[in-house]
Symmetry: D2
Subunit: 131 residues, 4 copies
């Protein structure tokens, strides 16, 4: 059982009719992706990878913020959650594409590209579930 | 001269045809709003203001992330920047509305509502300038 | 295999003679604790738990920053790492104590107290391993 | 009047006998330094400056967290605040030294080194004021 599931299972307030599994998966994917993108930086510290560094930093910050926002789900604002998921999707898509370009050369970047793809999909599933 | 202006003025890379003033204003507004929303929390720590607390925390995190992303402007991704500005707009709008409801009772919330309105407008201006 | 272990195993730079297991455990514990403390907020949103809210927010921010710093381990600064681990230790200790006081009443707080204790211990082990 | 001063002046709870000016100065210095270090990254994106990048990222995260913790001053934990100020001091000192080494070559780094020095001093003054 993941941390997000443990916290949602002991959640005192009414979560409404939200798809709890999609929510827990998305929270976990966001924090995993934030962690992986932060660590990917050290791989990328060479001049030709400057775009990769910037993309990783943007993605880490946006995933971290999205994970935090989703973790504070009580009485959520549908409009704000939808906009945040769109930003997170865009960040993961850009970072996944960028890291994938270096995946053959850097094992680190391959691991990071996979985390970005998983997070992008989890955001899409949650956005669809929230309607 | 603000910090954002000082950093943009000494920026080594080409910023393209971006409206530097709109960019600097938006970076400053984002960090100001993040700081103010973080501090507003202590005001709101009473049971009837739980929605205000959550909205402040969401807004602080999103503004902080938006300020960071805009500060790393080099070779920016138009799609990602637009999506992030939309999320920041939504967060500032929601938090400004919520804090304004308590502005008559809590001087703290009035200051915070104003920071949210300024940040919302700065995001709108930058989004328009970036086309 | 955790994300931190996956990233450290594919790390391109020399990690020196650091205890990789203690480092990976501490990174994982920091991010888990940050996530759990962020989620714990919604539990605590009642007037009598204001100290618990503040302690959770402080702990989430410090654990997140510590996890990020440790994830960028290359050429680390022993003095800075030691000071950051001490701050993280203090935050987890304070938050663990505070959440434990509510653990009988709030299942959420019990889960959070456990995450704080694990992170405190992981920080102590890494601090000892780094000498 | 800065944002930190505006928020402290409208603070509803008792701040005890804390030196409000030292507290407001330190909050402002932390957020300024976080912003400046984040922006400094783009300057440093060349292979020979990898240590500078890492130091800037560490400093930005620690200053941001310290500014947040100090902004939530109510009922503060003396032990945690002291440990956090020590970590922030260490980060600003390291980053100031590193950026200063490039200050002759990069105007950006000179501005950043100055922000780090101001923040280091503000942390020292607040630590002394808090005893």
């Amino acid at each position: 059982m993941t941390h997000a599931t443990a916290m949602l299972d002991t959640y005192p307030a009414d979560l409404g009719n939200v798809d709890k599994q999609a929510l827990a998966d998305c929270i976990d994917a966001c924090f995993d992706c934030a962690q992986t993108c932060t660590a990917c930086l050290s791989e990328s510290m060479v001049a030709e990878l400057t775009k990769c560094i910037r993309t990783n930093l943007d993605c880490a910050d946006i995933c971290d913020t999205t994970g935090r926002l989703l973790s504070r789900h009580t009485g959520y604002d549908a409009n704000l959650t939808a906009a945040t998921l769109q930003a997170c999707l865009a960040a993961c898509h850009a970072c996944g594409d960028e890291c994938e370009r270096h995946a053959g050369m850097h094992e680190h970047c391959r691991v990071c590209a996979e985390a970005c793809r998983r997070c992008e999909q989890a955001c899409q599933r949650l956005a669809a579930a929230l309607g």
